[in-house]
């Protein structure tokens, strides 16, 4: 006892959380900054080539990680969230089918090209009203929240959408990748709160990089879109809607944001444990609960891996057509992010 009392306490490191995580937080920040700068540099340097390669490599896997994540976030029993999830799943289904039906109607000459903006505006309106419904339902789950502002906000956005539906759709293309950063923020808050301040400080770099890219690329000559694939990529980035803006800038910006999006879903969230051990179904409530569906969940995940492999094969055989199909079907994952993000707020 006497010997224990004589132990110099100053020699023992105090196991405070801040000390324990000081180095990893710096490392985390360094990785974030380096990844963002590298993505911006690559996207600015070779926008078309990097776009082709990143979509080929990461589009399918990032969807698989998202599916894995959503399954993990899905409660075993909906309970009070039954209405919320009913509206969420119904909206995802109807809106995805509607989105897929639009080009199908166009190509079968059942829909005139002149009515295209009206069709797009209608779909965008349904999307906004669905989002507003989800926000209000989520707000009602907590009596301290008053989220009824969602309805006037949605109506205001609907008005803007009906004035410029094509630009509104383009805004979704550019804003969707940023949602992943919000997911990361919410997860850091729950699991690595000591990294949250560092992460938010690193986010300041994002507008700086965007302004830097605008400054560097606004005067560049538009990309040569003389082949079908290059034309598709420039159109996806808004080349036709913003004719006075260099397509080099548009494609670079879009590729940069997409790279951040893929990086968050494939690297950042799995590394901080947001998706659990990817080979294990024990972290998925629907598989873990008594009377759950472990085999069904495992089959879904393995089947999804098979779809990722099919997507890679499709890209190898006909990249342009597969890219078109992918970006149409991928609307489902864009929509699915909304309810799961709302559940975390």
């Amino acid at each position: 006892m006497e010997r224990a009392a004589n132990i110099p306490l100053a020699a023992w490191p105090v196991a405070r959380p801040s000390d324990r995580t000081r180095v990893p937080a710096r490392l985390f920040a360094a990785v974030l900054v380096a990844s963002a700068c590298l993505s911006a540099a690559l996207a600015s340097w070779l926008p078309l080539q990097v776009s082709i390669v990143t979509v080929f490599l990461f589009a399918g896997p990032h969807n698989w990680f998202e599916l894995r994540y959503f399954l993990m976030r899905l409660p075993a029993r909906f309970g009070r969230s039954r209405n919320f999830f009913a509206v969420a799943f119904a909206g995802i289904g109807v809106l995805t089918l509607g989105y897929l039906a639009l080009p199908a109607l166009y190509y079968t000459n059942l829909w005139s090209g002149e009515n295209w903006p009206v069709a797009i505006a209608t779909w965008n309106t349904l999307l906004l009203l669905w989002l507003a419904a989800l926000v209000i339902l989520r707000g009602k789950q907590n009596s301290r929240r008053d989220w009824s502002w969602a309805l006037p906000a949605a109506f205001g956005l609907c008005a803007v959408n009906w004035l410029v539906p094509d630009l509104f759709s383009l805004a979704i293309v550019y804003l969707h990748p940023l949602v992943a950063l919000w997911f990361l923020d919410r997860h850091l808050r729950r699991t690595r709160s000591e990294w949250l301040a560092t992460y938010r400080r690193c986010l300041i770099l994002l507008p700086l990089l965007i302004v830097g890219m605008l400054w560097q690329l606004s005067g560049t000559i538009s990309l040569a879109d003389d082949n079908g694939l290059a034309w598709r990529i420039t159109q996806h980035a808004g080349g036709q809607l913003l004719p006075n803006v260099s397509t080099h800038l548009l494609v670079s910006m879009h590729v940069f944001l997409e790279m951040l999006h893929y990086g968050v879903w494939i690297i950042a969230l799995p590394l901080i444990g947001a998706t659990g051990a990817i080979w294990s179904t024990k972290t998925i409530p629907l598989a873990r609960r008594r009377g759950g569906f472990p085999k069904v969940i495992a089959a879904i995940l393995i089947g999804s891996l098979f779809i990722v492999a099919v997507l890679w094969m499709g890209f190898s055989f006909n990249y342009a057509a597969t890219r078109d199909i992918y970006f149409a079907v991928a609307m489902a994952h864009v929509l699915a992010e909304a309810p799961f993000l709302l559940r975390m707020i």
């Binding site: 008053d146 009824s148 309805l151 906000a153 109506f155 009906w162 410029v164 539906p165 036709q240 004719p243």
Partner: protein, 194 residues
């Protein structure tokens, strides 16, 4: 409550009856109206006289011609945002309807909201809109005289052989009628005087 319901039902009936009232009116004949032109860009014009010239000449700088080629290449594919909005009355009506709903629901939300924070947000938004409106007034106030002001002395200058400089909108019109220069000059003749 009952009285309100009856009044609402009567009002709805009155509105619905308007459909039948207009249902028997023949559709107005639509006369073919000429397709309006489209201003593709703004440049400058100098009207000058040359007593030695035998034919009227239109001089276009290389840079202007280059710009003209660029904008005419995009003429059919890229209408301006205003033109895109104006082309569709359905979209304008829907935008107006949703704007109305947004303002109405925002007012209801604000009135029902008991949180001072919400009131502060609303006050901030109103202040922002007021500032933008004030800025718009200032911008308009500094907009300068209309383009026709520079051309007001054109007849006198032409008779004196002097040059007149002013702005010019290049407008692409359908048809094959050559070129037409429209000057923003008002007739000085009094009404009834020929």
């Amino acid at each position: 409550m009952k009285r309100s319901l009856v009044l609402c039902a009567a009002a709805l009936l009155l509105i619905a009856s308007a459909v039948y009232t207009f249902g028997d009116i023949a559709r107005p004949k639509t006369s073919p109206t000429p397709q309006p032109g489209k201003i593709v860009f703004h440049t400058g014009l100098t009207v000058a006289t040359d007593p030695k010239a035998y034919e009227a000449r239109l001089q276009i700088s290389e840079e202007t011609l280059k710009r003209l080629r660029e904008v005419t290449a995009n003429t059919t594919a890229n209408p301006s945002m205003t033109q895109r909005i104006m082309q569709s009355s359905t979209r304008t009506m829907m935008a107006g309807l949703f704007m109305f709903l947004a303002i109405s629901f925002a007012g209801v939300w604000l009135a029902r909201s008991s949180q001072r924070r919400n009131h502060k947000i609303a006050a901030g938004i109103v202040l922002g809109v007021l500032m933008l409106s004030a800025a718009a007034v200032i911008v308009r106030a500094n907009a300068g005289p209309p383009g026709s002001f520079r051309w007001r002395n054109l007849p006198e200058n032409l008779s004196k052989g002097q040059a007149t400089i002013g702005g010019l909108d290049i407008e692409i019109v359908p048809g094959d009628s050559g070129m037409k220069l429209i000057m923003p000059l008002k007739s000085e003749k009094k009404p009834g005087e020929e």
